[in-house]
């Protein structure tokens, strides 16, 4: 039985790691702690040859240490062996769960140690918060499959029992990978779509993606939860999606716009919400798209909201939107420098923007920097459309007066 268990099924690396600890738990029950550690050691020798030696040694040592720690707990809590499993199932359940918990803790501690020594990203605390804690309940749950494996093995099924355990594990992995795939597909599709909308104007190209990146930086700095972070990045990407409803002739119109044309531009947030209304995003995404042109003093559009009444995400996007607009080249003016733009934002911190968020954003940009892309040089010979973001900046606070092109 022991010899048989050592021959681990040869499947993909990902499945192997999750199968590993299920197998080890089954081995505790079937043939004792010693053999479980032995199997881990043998497994460590048969690692992927492409890994560097240090990594191999670490991986091997890690799995042996985890198995040993779990085994100790299993042993001292009086875990049942072989035939006893069937007569005392409760003992088997709680001792293996205790061993499993120990395994997870030791594993997390070892990984944190490595992250700490390497000193890079992610930091040990982020790792615990984002990876170790969220995954441990499910790993604890799947550990029960190890106990079931032992039961099925003892029933006389032998190797067939591994098949029984493998299918549920495989299905859950599959669902997880499909989930990731769908999420990636959605992000890619939205980006492609935004690029089409931006083809109307050479100079705003890439604006939405940069805003999405900028709000992402600010969101991480503010410590949003994962769900809200994703929602914020989506909102940043989609904030100008309603521009598809603004006639191209207005977007590309040279010079100043008359009132009816301005009204058409002012409609774009509402158009955006109309477009994305059916997508089951968090409600915050829609309100952010609708209100990203509101100003802190209440002079913005479409609702003239002011202060804290402007949705949180909309305030964030308003800042990054203005920032990217000013640091980008427009046909009628060159791009501003990052520092110069941050100063403009700080000057407007009470009229246009939420002062606290502006401070946070300035801090983030000063720390992380901002890479501006090579863009077409401004073409002074042509009188071309003034971007709507510039327009909204210029019409309110006096500080940014020349942002609107009245130089």
């Amino acid at each position: 039985m022991l010899a048989g268990s050592v021959m681990r099924p040869r499947v993909g690396q990902v499945y192997r790691t999750s199968l590993d600890y299920v197998l080890v738990i089954a081995l505790y029950l079937l043939s004792g702690v010693g053999s479980a550690i032995l199997v881990c050691a043998v497994g460590a020798l048969s690692q992927d040859r492409r890994h560097p030696l240090v990594k191999k040694i670490f991986n091997g040592a890690q799995s042996v240490l985890c198995a040993a720690a779990g085994g100790l707990v299993f042993h001292y809590t009086g875990g049942p062996r072989a035939g006893e499993v069937l007569s005392e199932p409760w003992d088997a359940i709680w001792t293996t769960t205790a061993a499993n918990a120990t395994w997870l803790v030791v594993n997390a501690v070892l990984l944190c140690l490595v992250l700490f020594l390497e000193g890079g990203q992610p930091s040990p605390t982020t790792f615990i918060r984002k990876v170790a804690l969220p995954t441990s309940p499910s790993l604890l749950g799947y550990g029960l499959l190890g106990m079931l494996l032992a039961v099925a093995w003892l029933s006389g099924l032998g190797f067939l029992s591994i098949l029984l355990i493998f299918v549920p594990l495989y299905v859950s992995r599959w669902a997880l990978s499909q989930y990731e795939a769908e999420r990636r597909a959605q992000a890619a599709t939205m980006r492609a779509f935004i690029q089409v909308i931006e083809t109307k104007d050479l100079y705003t190209r890439g604006h939405s993606e940069r805003v999405s990146e900028g709000v992402g930086l600010l969101g991480r700095h503010l410590g949003l939860s994962d769900d809200r972070q994703t929602a914020l990045e989506h909102a940043g990407l989609l904030h100008d999606v309603g521009k598809v409803g603004v006639p191209t002739s207005i977007i590309q119109k040279p010079g100043r716009l008359d009132d009816s044309e301005m009204d058409a531009i002012r409609l774009h947030p509402a158009r955006g919400v109309e477009l994305i209304g059916n997508i089951p995003f968090l409600e915050e995404v829609k309100s952010a798209v609708l209100h990203h042109h509101e100003k802190y003093d209440g002079t913005g559009y479409p609702a003239g909201l002011g202060g804290e009444n402007i949705p949180y995400f909309a305030r964030i996007i308003g800042i990054v939107d203005a920032f990217d607009s000013l640091t980008s080249t427009r046909s009628y003016r060159p791009a501003r420098g990052v520092e110069e733009t941050l100063d403009i934002l700080l000057q407007d911190r009470n009229t246009h923007f939420d002062p606290l968020l502006v401070d946070a954003f300035v801090e983030v940009i000063r720390r992380h920097g901002w890479k501006t892309l090579d863009q077409p040089a401004p073409d002074g010979s042509k009188v071309v459309a003034i971007d709507h973001d510039d327009l909204s900046l210029g019409s309110g606070g006096g500080a940014t007066g020349n942002a609107a092109g009245v130089e």
């Binding site: 499993v85 069937l86 199932p89 359940i93 749950g141 799947y142 029960l144 499959l145 106990m147 079931l148 039961v151 099925a152 003892l154 029933s155 006389g156 099924l157 032998g158 067939l160 098949l163 029984l164 355990i165 299918v167 549920p168 299905v171 859950s172 669902a175 997880l176 499909q178 989930y179 769908e182 999420r183 990636r184 597909a185 959605q186 890619a188 599709t189 939205m190 980006r191 492609a192 779509f193 690029q195 089409v196 909308i197 083809t199 999606v241 309603g242 598809v244 409803g245 006639p247 191209t248 002739s249 158009r271 109309e274 477009l275 994305i276 209304g277 059916n278 997508i279 089951p280 995003f281």
Partner: protein, 427 residues
């Protein structure tokens, strides 16, 4: 009539053959209940535990893909209950008792859903009951009642084999019924529908079957401790599935919304993309395309107009039929490159690229062009003629499309369109 919409709850008029399934399931349940009540229930505790599992599973059912609701926990629990043996279970439940417990528990699980106003489908639940009855009958026919897990491989292999046979029979019977229903409801050819059902069976079905075997084996060996131990990983798996399903729904809604951008920009009339896609899907069903191709077809029909976004001015009423062919092909080419840029919809891009190629210059000589392009081409044309605003009668539209057979439109697709319209398809 709206063939794409799934039925809900108790709507007898729209159920069609579902009524037959309902009656068969009902009679089966009634007979089993009477027989069980006369013999008395054996091993009450197991009946209660598995009944509770079935009811809970029924309550937390959810939808993967676009097909129908699935209740993996209920299915696994019912199949598991059907395949119990010793040593822990002294008196394994008889066939009648298995069916009775499944029926009562299923009904108990549906009630909370109906009260909460969630989607429920009595026909799907009936199908589950019938397939469980099949599995129980096969398993009982293959194993003696006193056969027990005794740790010897001979007995273990025999019981496991009987379980596999039972689970397979459940899967097969459900696939046949499902294919029959798909044929009736979406007018898919039966062989194509059966093929799709069997493909689904080898994926989700296998997972549910294996879990059922695990549940039955565990319970037969360690008694009441097994169900919770099996259910915890199963719930985690179901949770992963639900997340996947919701991400899938979000993605689909995203594609639909993006398609609507041409309406907001004034390149197409309100609902035009949705109508075109609805017709394209009906034709695709009629031709029996695989689910993956159906999905690409639907997206392609929805997105066939996005290329226009890059063109300067909207045409009045979105009538792209009125524009020159060169312009339409250019728009299709732009649209295809836009869709391709997403990196995940390459097949959709290929369909859109050729969606404005006339049949004679395209597919007739180039088998590399997918038939889906021809479908989108015909669906676009028909929608232009009949869709809101223009309002020709279906017959008149069919006539003008018929004039383009072989030259403009793919004959196979036009024949299919004729069948779809003949069956009463209306926007």
């Amino acid at each position: 009539m709206n063939p794409g919409q799934p039925i809900e709850g108790l709507d007898l008029r729209r159920m069609g053959s579902g009524v037959v399934i309902l009656v068969v399931g009902g009679i089966l349940a009634a007979v089993a209940l009477v027989a069980t009540l006369r013999h008395g229930v054996t091993e009450w505790s197991y009946a209660l535990v598995f009944g509770a599992l079935i009811a809970i599973g029924e309550t937390v059912q959810f939808r993967v893909d676009r097909s129908r609701n699935r209740a993996p926990i209920a299915t696994s629990a019912a199949l598991g209950y059907a395949m119990l043996r010793g040593p822990s279970v002294g008196m394994p439940p008889e066939l009648a008792q298995v069916i009775a417990v499944t029926a009562v528990a299923t009904a108990a699980g549906i009630v909370p859903r109906a009260i909460a106003g969630l989607r429920w489908d009595i026909v799907v639940s009936c199908r589950r009951g019938i397939s469980v009855a099949c599995a129980a009958a096969v398993f009982e026919a293959l194993t003696r009642r006193d056969l027990a897990w005794n740790g010897e491989w001979v007995e273990a292999l025999w019981i496991a084999g009987a379980m596999m046979a039972g689970v397979l029979s459940a899967g097969l019977s459900d696939a046949v019924i499902g294919a029959g229903q798909a044929t009736e409801r979406y007018n898919r050819p039966f062989p194509a529908a059966l093929r799709d059902e069997l493909v689904v069976m080898t994926r989700i079905g296998m997972a549910m079957g294996i879990t059922a075997i695990l549940l039955a084996t565990g319970t037969s060996l360690i008694g009441h401790w097994a169900p919770p131990v099996v259910i915890v990983p199963l719930l985690l798996t179901q949770f992963a599935f639900r997340r996947f399903a919701s991400a899938q729904r979000t993605y689909r809604a995203t594609v639909r919304s993006m398609a609507r951008s041409t309406e907001i920009a004034g390149f197409s009339s309100p609902g035009q993309n949705a109508r075109t896609a609805q017709l394209a899907v009906a034709i695709g069903n009629d031709l029996g395309l695989t689910p993956a191709r159906m999905e690409a077809l639907e997206y392609a029909a929805l997105l066939s107009g996005v290329g226009q976004l890059a063109l300067a001015d909207p045409s009045p009423g979105g009538a792209s039929l009125l524009r020159t062919r060169e312009e339409r092909q250019r728009a299709a080419e732009i649209g295809a490159s836009v869709i391709e840029r997403s990196g995940v919809l390459d097949h959709v891009a290929e369909i859109v690229r050729h969606s404005n190629d006339p049949y004679r210059m395209g597919r007739a000589n180039n088998p590399g062009i997918p038939v889906e392009s021809g479908i989108v081409n015909v669906a676009l044309a028909y929608e232009q003629l009949v869709g809101e605003g223009t309002g020709q009668s279906p017959d008149k539209a069919m006539e003008s499309i018929g004039l383009g057979i072989g030259a403009e439109y793919d004959p196979v697709v036009v024949e299919s369109l004729r069948r779809v319209i003949g069956r009463g398809f209306r926007f």
